[in-house]
Every structure is written in structure tokens, then in C-alpha cells.
């Protein structure tokens, strides 16, 4: 009889095997649920914002985006001043932060001795850990007055013939907000750039140096060229951060619903306007217009991030092909 010779497996092994399977299944399940939840959440948030913004979208249509108006008394709204403020502050921040970030990353990977580089890298990254509200407070109390008393008068002396450096220096305005944003995005872009530069194959650098190029020529010709798409992606990620920042900008931009010609004058950004006004919105028109601003901001930020990711993917593919 075969049945008498059959040995059932020991109960522990069976349990153990099943336990492993249970763990696998559980892990797989959690991973799927988490991934799905993130996707669904993004969709739900976008849908809810559009739904709440609907009254304003219906009232004002797409022309809302290029209309310069914000009057809660007459319920007349438009986003232009805030789109302008967001774009100008973020672009100034970008233009200032990109060379600085690349320089920091070059210093840390190519120039500084390792013993010096590690603590400095940590410090730069810690800059990103300062809560934006704290940075904004510093902007109000310390940085803004400094900009008003020293930086802006100096800019006016040197470049006063340009319209953006005309007017009266002020502690709250486009320029102070842009500078605070610069401080906020430098850690992000410089950390990514550093990562990129480390990953540049040493052989390429060595080869370039062996062929007689100077260190700067090797950096310019090999390192920067090799990392260029990555730098572009890093810059876009920094830009996404700058677009979306609400509180620190709110504290330093001056909150005026106008399109200032001078960078010293107060203006406003999308994020800052939403943060300041949503909680106190008194009418459906006002609340839905603020959510329309939120929808615009969301589209801008998502687009920037998607472009950055596309560049990263292409970069990775090109690198793997090498």
C-alpha cells in the first residue's frame, strides 16, 4: 500500500512555507494598494479641485488666466497678477540658483578634499530641512530689511536705469520673495547635481586630462556635457518647488494684487494668494476663484514635474546606451 509509505510533511515546515507565502502575498498586496492609493489620490485631488473651482471656471472661462482683476467686493476675479508673480519670482530664483547649485556641486565633487566636502554637503542639504514658514519669518525679520537697506539701494545705484530696479526699496516685494525661493531651491538642485557629477565615469575625466586638457576644460567639456540633461531636470524640479511654495512667499512678497514693474514693489503669487485668502473667503465666487488659482498652479507644477521626469528617463536611457 502506497498510503502507508507516504510521509506527511512535518507541520512546522508546512507552516513555515505557508508563512513565507503569506508574507509575500501580504507584501505584494500592501505594495499594490500603496501604489494604487497614490495614483487614485492624485486623481481625486485634481477632480475635487476642479469640481470646487467649477463656478469660477463657468463664470470666467479660460480668460480668467490672463485677466488682471481681484476684487472680492464686486466679485470680479482673474489670475494674471498671480501667474505673473509666480513666474517672475520662480524664474529669478531659477536664474540665480542654477549657477550657484552647479558651482556648489562642482566644488563638492571636484575641488574640495573629501574631508571638507562631506560636512559641507550635509550642511547644504540641511538648508532644505528648514521649514519654509521659518525661512519666511527670517525673511520678514532679518533678510527683507537687509535687502531693503543694502541690496536694493546698491542694485539701484548700479542698474537703476532698468525698470525692474526702479522705485523705492522695500522689504517685502518680488525681489525678496525670489531670493528666499533661491535659498529654498539651492539645496535641491545642488544635491541632484552633485549626485550627477559623482556618476560621471572617472575614465572619461581621466581620459580628457590625459589628452592634455586642463581641469576646467575637462569639467566643461566632459563633466558638464555629460550631466547636462540631468542638470536640466534638476533645475526643473527646483522650479516646481519654487512654483508651489506658498508660505515663505506669502511672508515676503507683500501680497498686493498688482503687476509691479519694479522688482522692489510688492506683488503676489498663486500659492501665496491661495494660502492667504482661502480660509477667509466669504462668497462662493471668491472661494471657487481661489480654487481656480489652485487648479492653474496644479497644472503648472504637474507639467514642470512631468517634463523633468521625461528628461530624467531619457538621460538614464542615453547613459545606459553608453
Amino acid at each position: 500500500m502506497t498510503s502507508t509509505t507516504y510521509e506527511p510533511p512535518a507541520p512546522e515546515t508546512d507552516l513555515r512555507r505557508r508563512g513565507i507565502r503569506l508574507g509575500d502575498v501580504l507584501f505584494k498586496g500592501i505594495a499594490i494598494v500603496a501604489a494604487l492609493a497614490a495614483t487614485v489620490l492624485l486623481g481625486l485631488i485634481a477632480w475635487k479641485i476642479l469640481q470646487l473651482a467649477r463656478p469660477a471656471i463657468q463664470d470666467f472661462g479660460l480668460s480668467f488666466i490672463w485677466t488682471d482683476a481681484w476684487n472680492p467686493v464686486t466679485n470680479d476675479y482673474g489670475a494674471l497678477a498671480f501667474v505673473y508673480g509666480t513666474a517672475v519670482t520662480s524664474i529669478i530664483a531659477l536664474v540665480l540658483a542654477t549657477p550657484l547649485s552647479v558651482a556648489i556641486a562642482l566644488f563638492l565633487t571636484e575641488i574640495a578634499p573629501r574631508k571638507v566636502a562631506a560636512p559641507i554637503a550635509t550642511m547644504v542639504e540641511l538648508l532644505a530641512a528648514i521649514p519654509s514658514v521659518v525661512l519666511g519669518l527670517w525673511g520678514i525679520l532679518v533678510f527683507g530689511p537687509w535687502v531693503r537697506d543694502y541690496l536694493e539701494p546698491w542694485l539701484q545705484d548700479v542698474l537703476g536705469f532698468l525698470p525692474m530696479f526702479s522705485g523705492t526699496p522695500s522689504q517685502a516685494g518680488i525681489l525678496p520673495a525670489a531670493l528666499v525661493l533661491t535659498i529654498m531651491i539651492i539645496p535641491i538642485t545642488s544635491a541632484i547635481c552633485r549626485e550627477l557629477f559623482i556618476r560621471v565615469p572617472q575614465e572619461l575625466m581621466d581620459g580628457s586630462l590625459a589628452l592634455g586638457s586642463t581641469r576646467w576644460e575637462a569639467i566643461r567639456g566632459v563633466l558638464l556635457t555629460y550631466a547636462a540633461p540631468g542638470i536640466a531636470a534638476a533645475v526643473l524640479l527646483g522650479l516646481g518647488r519654487a512654483f508651489g511654495e506658498a508660505i515663505a512667499v506669502n511672508q515676503t512678497i507683500g501680497n498686493a494684487n498688482i503687476i509691479p514693474t519694479s522688482w522692489f514693489e510688492p506683488g503676489n503669487s498663486l500659492g501665496s494668494k491661495i494660502a492667504a485668502e482661502y480660509a477667509g473667503a466669504t462668497s462662493v465666487e471668491q472661494a471657487s476663484s481661489i480654487l481656480y488659482l489652485a487648479a492653474i498652479l496644479m497644472v503648472i507644477s504637474l507639467t514642470t514635474n512631468v517634463i523633468a521626469q521625461v528628461i530624467v528617463v531619457r538621460f538614464e536611457r542615453a547613459r545606459r546606451a553608453v
Binding site: 472680492p72 467686493v73 520678514i140 525679520l141 507683500g254 501680497n255 480660509a279 466669504t282 462668497s283
Partner: protein, 348 residues
């Protein structure tokens, strides 16, 4: 090992789920009778903070109040997520309809002060409503303007740009201030108007009383509006405002009380509670810029009705005596009378 880990994860997950379920259950149940939850205006918060322990002691009702801003107060009471809402602005007809049976009861009164930062000024600045409107419209831009000099013949007003500072968040202070300017200046009324947020044609915005005060503190030439208590407790220099009798008044308890002289003997509607720019007969001490702040309660409040009636009644009677040290002015008799009649409408 892995099995132990998996089991551990399961147990933790189960416990967490159970705890979460239990918590949502208690959270979803309305707080038990004897406790009331409110949110809204920040303006009356110092006074409400004093009321909370006193109400607990006197009536055994536990009050929770979160100062979030008048707009939030209105939105949350309309959605019935709280038992009462606080607002410095009375509900507009549209908002009143949306709130589906709400009563709006005045429960505190205080003056707004105009703090300024003019370094080296040899005395107290005096302003009037027209000048203030022109400063905030951007037509008066320097402290040595003849319009300001005329009001302050003895002051060494400097050649300094004026920076008008306003609240960037929706605020009852802005509602009261723009109401005052609309009352005085037809130009302000047509160009800007009155609301909790308006489109200020010039100046710098900052968040909250502390935000505007911070900008004024660090900016030479700045002026702003905050509740009198804030200016006094933070030792800000604030302007004297000219009233119709020609006097220059301060936003103290006496100045605001005098401004009430024109209230009707029997108040029957909120529109009669206009106290900005009081008439000449109120005298030279009457301060022209003050505001009531309101509590909004649904007329059908279920099992909360009795507690709400007791709490609001206590607030407009006993509660008023906590006001003066905080520069809140006790409600006058006529307004208390109006409040009693409104409180009676709160039913289960």
C-alpha cells in the same frame, strides 16, 4: 523569522485598524451635551479665551474655540461642522440664506487702532477718515503731505514715503476698516468698497494682526490697522482719529462707548448697529472706528440648543465684564436686549 515578522505586521495592522475604527466612531458622534465647539474670527479670541474657564465654572459647559478667521467661521457653521461660528462681519443676505436658519448675535465690541512707525516724531499723530482713505487709495504718499500737516501743525513730520499695510487674509478688521473708509469717502466706496478682503490699490499685505504689526515695526513710514488691544499690549504708538464733533479720540473703552450714543432705544436689526463715524452729538471723545463681533448659531440646534442659549446669554451678560481689561467694551443695554430676543430663537 519571516513568519514571525508577517504575524507581527498582521497584529499591528489589526490593532491599528481597530483603534482607528474606534476613534472615528467617537469622533463622528457629536460631542456629548455639556460641550460646545466653535470656530471663526480671531478678533474676539482674547475675550473668548477668558470666557472658556469661566463658562466651565459657572455653567459646566466646556467650550472649544479655534481662531481661524471670520470666513472659516461662516463656512463651518453653514456646513454645521461646529456648534457656533464667530464672525466680525454680519452675514450678507446671500450668506444668511445659505446658512439655512441662522441667528447672528453681537457678543463683543472693540475699537480698531491705527499704529504707525514714524521715527523721531515729536508727538502723537492725528488723522481723519478722509486722510486715511487717501493714504490707502495712494493719493497721499508722503508723511509731509500738506493734508497731514494741516491736522498736525505742531509735529515735525518727516519727508518719508507712507507704506500702507493691510491684512492679506480675510479679516473682520479689514471689514470694519473698509466700512469706515466707505462711510467717509465716496471715492473709497466706489473704487474699493467694504469686505473682509478687498482689492487695496496700494500698499503691502501681511498675514494676521502679528503680520501687519511686524511689517509696521520694521518699516519706517508704515501705518496699519489692528484691534486696539493688540496695539496697547504691544506698546505701539497709534494715531488719534478725528470725529465729527472735531475731537481727536483714542480707541479706549471710553472712546468706543461714546461712539454708541446714536443707537436706537430698541435695536431690531443688525443694520442698526452701525457705529463707525458716529454723529456730532456723540461728542469730542467718541472714537469713529470700532466694530461689533458676532456669534452665529443655527436656530435648530438639536440637543445643543439649551447649552447654546445658556452660553451665549452668559457671554452677552456676565461675560462682558471680562472685556475692559482686554479693551473690549461692554455691550450697551439695547444691544443686550437685541441679543436676548435673538437667543430665544435658538431651539432644538
Amino acid at each position: 523569522m519571516k513568519r514571525v515578522l508577517a504575524l507581527g505586521v498582521l497584529v499591528v495592522a489589526a490593532v491599528a485598524t481597530a483603534a482607528f475604527a474606534a476613534q472615528t466612531q467617537t469622533a463622528s458622534a457629536r460631542p456629548s451635551a455639556g460641550s460646545l465647539v466653535g470656530t471663526g474670527a480671531t478678533f474676539p479670541f482674547p475675550l473668548i479665551s477668558k470666557w472658556i474657564p469661566a463658562v466651565d465654572e459657572a455653567l459646566g459647559i466646556r467650550i472649544t474655540y479655534t481662531p481661524t478667521g471670520s470666513g472659516t467661521g461662516i463656512a463651518q457653521i453653514t456646513a454645521r461642522t461646529v456648534d457656533f461660528g464667530g464672525s466680525d462681519a454680519p452675514l450678507s443676505p446671500d450668506q444668511l440664506t445659505a446658512c439655512k436658519g441662522c441667528v447672528v448675535i453681537p457678543w463683543a465690541l472693540a475699537g480698531l487702532s491705527m499704529p504707525y512707525n514714524i521715527p523721531g516724531l515729536n508727538g502723537r499723530l492725528r488723522l481723519d477718515g478722509t486722510t486715511l482713505a487717501n493714504i490707502y487709495l495712494g493719493t497721499i504718499t508722503n508723511w509731509n503731505s500738506p493734508f497731514i500737516k494741516r491736522l498736525n501743525p505742531n509735529l515735525n513730520l518727516p519727508d518719508l514715503r507712507i507704506t500702507p499695510v493691510y491684512r492679506s487674509d480675510g479679516s473682520g478688521s479689514t471689514y470694519a476698516f473698509t466700512g469706515y473708509l466707505s462711510e467717509i469717502s465716496p471715492q473709497w466706496k466706489s473704487k474699493v468698497g467694504q469686505n473682509t478682503t478687498v482689492n487695496f490699490p496700494t500698499g503691502t499685505g501681511a498675514r494676521g494682526s502679528s503680520g501687519v504689526a511686524g511689517v509696521v515695526k520694521s518699516t519706517a513710514g508704515a501705518i496699519t490697522y489692528v484691534d486696539a488691544a493688540y496695539s496697547i499690549t504691544n506698546k505701539f504708538q497709534f494715531a488719534l482719529l478725528k470725529n465729527r464733533a472735531g475731537g481727536f479720540a483714542t480707541p479706549g473703552v471710553r472712546g468706543v462707548t461714546r461712539a454708541l450714543c446714536d443707537l436706537p432705544a430698541r435695536v431690531t436689526s443688525l443694520s442698526q448697529l452701525k457705529i463707525v463715524d458716529p454723529p456730532r452729538k456723540c461728542g469730542r471723545l467718541a472714537y469713529p472706528l470700532s466694530t461689533f463681533t458676532y456669534v452665529i448659531v443655527p436656530t435648530s440646534s438639536g440637543d445643543k440648543a439649551a447649552d447654546l442659549r445658556r452660553f451665549v446669554y452668559w457671554a452677552v451678560t456676565q461675560g462682558q465684564k471680562f472685556g475692559p481689561p482686554l479693551f473690549f467694551v461692554p455691550l450697551p443695554k439695547q444691544v443686550q436686549g437685541f441679543a436676548y430676543r435673538e437667543i430665544k430663537k435658538i431651539q432644538s
